[in-house]
Amino acid sequence: MEALVHNLKLSWHSIKRAPLPYALTLLILSLGLGTFFSNATLYYWMNRDPIPEKSQTLFMVRMNSVPGDCTDCFEPPRVMSYMDMQKMSGSGITSAEAAMYSSNAYAKTVENQQATPSQVELRVTQRDFFKLFNVPFLHGETWPDNNARMEVVISKNTATKFFSRTDVVGQDMLIDDQLYKVIGVLDEWSMLPRLYDVNGSRSAEPTEDIYLPLETAYDLAIQSNTQNSFFDVDWDGDMATYPQMARTNFVNQLQFWVQLDSPEKVQQYQQYLKNLVQDEKAAGRHTRPEGNKLDNILNVQKALRATNDQLDAFALVASLFLLVCVVNASHLSLNRYMANQYEFSLRRALGASRWQLQSQIMADVLLSSVLAFVAALVFAQLGLWTINSLLPGTRALASWDWQMLSVMALFVVLISYLVTLYPALKTSFSPLNQQLKQ
Amino acid sequence: MIQINNLSKIFRTDLIETHALRQINLQVNEGEFAALTGPSGSGKSTLLNVLGTLESFDQGDYLLDGRSVKGLSDRELSALRNEKIGFIFQGFNLIKDFSLYDNIELPLRYRGFSSAERKRRVEQSLETVGLAARRDYHPSQLSGGQQQRVAIARAIAGEPRILLADEPTGNLDSLMARQVMELLEKINQQGCTILMVTHDPDQARRANRHIQIVDGQLNDSSMYEPLAAGA
């Protein structure tokens, strides 16, 4: 311990002797690290596993069932029709399954009818949604089945916002002028990236405010605000006929998620889909080539091409920038050590062992790491700020947790060591006599 | 060869003025081997630097080979140095990243010689100092005496009119010092004027003229008989 303090003191003195070169080295290193960290932060949030305890069992299903003779259309649409969803449901293979889409509406409480309604984000879905994605309930519970009912589950924030408290099970709410009863309130919950709905590159958006039964939404003609594709639909726009029309045509807006607990189940479900397509084809439907997709939740961004390409490009560039900075810093630190070489040699001549010099170098690394880490965090924060203001849809991705911070700190130490390694070796292992002679 | 009249040099800091050289008059004739001695701080190095045009002076005049150096531009002074003066330093002052060959060639490049001419001269001067076989060595691979011989080769390669040597043997042991001195005498015999700063009375005695400097003033410069020439 005392040796460490002594070594740190020596490091500090050698910095003080030539502060400008040291400051420049540190500046360059932390600029590179900062840029890299800011990008890595976004990259981490965009690509992490948001639900590691069961991500292996969650799959999104797609089927190439839309009409048309196109023989080289192998890629199924991103969203499916109500008819597809019905055929896929109830296979008995899944341990949970839910169809869903997003929408929005204006909501207010019954007590406060005169108030200006506030806009709320809706997730139109089915009973198993909460089970699929491990969504925690604070009060109440999900719907007993998938039938239409004027009942909603709301987020904790929504409860607080509209009722100023959380225990509001049994309360009524007006959503787009319709009266609903609250049957459940969720606990704090977020999913980043929001992999259950990445269509439209919205994976960085927050989870929704209100969860509404799918059948009810069809009855009330609540449509998806993400993607709503009509294939060969002949409809006059009369809203009274919408529920019937949307359930019996290729009005594609649903994403369908299933939980398959084992590889065997996955196999079985794939076979199930295959059989389904065969039956359909036999019935003269499903005219496009078979193109069933069962994408694991961790692959879904790639499958729907919802990755942020700009971020990827920037990642490439930021890594190269880090390389430049590291190379630069080690170049500068080599110069620094060379300048100190005489002193090093002198100390060795006075009897310091290589090990003692190495521990001096480690003290250097330690000191540099601490300074570089702090500076890098500042630059990273600046970087995130810049990126957030320049690239759309990255705002939710800019925070750090302790785990990330410790990984970053470790990384800084590693890089600082790398930067110092060659110069240090060169200084402490080059022949003694030659240096003293100069 | 060298003529200085009433030359003075003053070092000024904010507080004090130091008269490094006071009203010096000196004439060094062609072909002389002059030794300049004096205690530390007496101004002998300053005089040598002024003579070598490495430092300017404040009063008086200095004629090198009949030409006044007063008022010459940096470029003219540099050219003058390059053509007429060869330097030999106590610390050798070889460029350590260069091979012996490159070191000796450097002033010839400044002179603008063709590469064939440079090659001829470098080889000839390496021959003179007896290091022809090591032309591709780097200074760090040589002993001190050898390094000083390289420095001498560099100084004479341009066939200067005068060699200025600042304690050329100061860093060498006696054997090596003798070799270097013999080399300088040989060069002198070939017609090159030499002015050498030294603190070693034996060496001063080997020169054919002894100039003493004390407190920036020259003591009556007297001619020595070349006592130990060739010894």
């Binding site: 490009a313 | 190095s45 540099s78 610390g91």
Partner: protein
């Protein structure tokens, strides 16, 4: 000093030189590609749109009450809003439209000539539900046929943009042709319609009421020259006064809509430009500190050279030419890096190929930066008194 000698002395410092070259090479590669992306983004943003960007304001609105979002209330609501908006001083024309040009996303139909579906089908063409003042608002010119009028309200008569008409009917007269979306009665000049449609300049215009406003709709306003800020200030209040139960988006000028559409590209280009600037800065710091660090070592060398007859100018040139040569060699490798990086980036985003002159220009830029950074330490080096420098310590 001769190139040969510089190279020789660089080779004696292999590791330092390798680090320096690597850094210069990567810097050049990154700067070139960033410049390339930035210029591509600028070109994208600056392309002609066929619209008077500064004179068009748009605002997205959506009734917060369900009944107002459906007919017949909707048509009445829109006409109340338009009447109010048209009375604002400085407003030359105003209309509703289901979606505005330039804005990303929106509703598209496919279109084909009835008799030649397979040959003529165009997959994705934005359609504009709107009414009479739209032409004045957009400032589009009639190319052939006639504009739509009140008589075409609710009838399947359509207008096409020029490029779309060319695509569908080539050299034939498009007037009177029957498509799946209606009969073509006219062709208007091209305007930037939707970025990810089959072609950004394809568009089809129909007159008729919106069925419903579940996704809201847009009010689009043509203002007199120089009046856009004055009108913008009042617009939201005027719309709210016409109908309080409205969710009203931000009033945007057309060029702001455009910048929004290209925001990712502009953002990345800006980001990379910032990074390029940083990289040049790092290169300068590196050159500066290199020279600075070597001051001691150089001092002696410079002193020796001065004693041997090198003039100050010559010494300065020596120091600079060393950094020029290093930069040039590094930049030479950098050209390889820049093509390599270009290929890697092209896998992720769309980036133009590297034109030959750009790396050369960047190399000059790099040389300039390095020269600037080396100048000061080099100048100091030449001022060193040779007498001191050659003295043994």
């Amino acid at each position: 000093m001769s190139v040969f000698l510089i190279i020789k002395s660089l080779l004696r410092r292999k590791v330092v030189t390798a680090l320096l070259l690597l850094q210069l090479a990567v810097t050049l590669g990154l700067v070139v590609n960033s410049l390339l992306l930035a210029s591509a983004a600028k070109e994208l943003v600056d392309q002609p749109t066929g619209l008077s960007l500064e004179q068009i304001l748009t605002v997205w609105v959506k009734p917060t009450s369900k009944t107002l979002r459906l007919q017949p209330a909707l048509t009445d609501l829109i006409s109340r809003q338009l009447t109010a908006v048209r009375q604002i001083p400085g407003v030359e024309a105003a209309d509703f439209v289901n979606q505005i040009p330039l804005r990303q996303g929106g509703s598209n139909w496919n279109i084909f000539e009835r008799d030649r579906q397979d040959e003529s089908n165009v997959d994705s063409v934005p359609y504009y539900y709107t009414s009479e003042q739209i032409f004045q608002v957009l400032g589009v010119q009639l190319i052939t046929g006639r504009l739509l009028t009140q008589q075409d309200w609710g009838i399947d008569n359509i207008l096409l943009t020029e490029k779309l008409a060319k695509q569908l009917f080539a050299e034939q007269n498009p007037i009177g042709k029957v498509t799946n979306n209606g009969t073509v009665v006219g062709v208007v000049s091209d305007f930037y319609s939707q970025r990810y449609a089959s072609h950004p300049f394809y568009g089809q215009i129909v007159f008729g009421p919106l069925h419903r406003a579940e996704q809201g709709y847009q009010l689009i306003v043509r203002v007199a020259q120089g009046q856009s800020e004055a009108v913008r200030k009042q617009l939201t209040d005027v719309i709210r006064n016409a109908e309080p139960q409205m969710d009203i988006g931000t009033v945007l000028r057309m060029d702001e809509n455009r910048d929004d559409v290209f925001r990712s590209e502009i953002g990345l280009a800006t980001l990379l430009s910032v990074l390029s600037g940083l990289m040049l800065l790092v290169a300068m710091i590196s050159a500066y500190s290199h020279a600075h660090f070597h001051a001691l070592q150089m001092q002696k060398e410079v002193g020796i050279k001065r004693a041997l007859g090198a003039s100050k100018a010559r010494v300065l040139l020596d120091v600079l030419s060393e950094s020029w040569l290093t930069t040039a060699i590094g930049a030479g490798f950098g050209i390889l890096v820049c093509y390599g990086l270009n290929i890697s980036l092209a896998k992720v985003i769309s980036i133009p190929a590297v034109p030959v002159w750009l790396p050369l220009l960047t190399m000059l830029l790099l040389l300039l930066c390095v020269t600037l950074a080396t100048w000061y330490p080099a100048r100091i080096a030449t001022r060193i008194s040779p007498a001191t420098a050659t003295k043994t310590l």
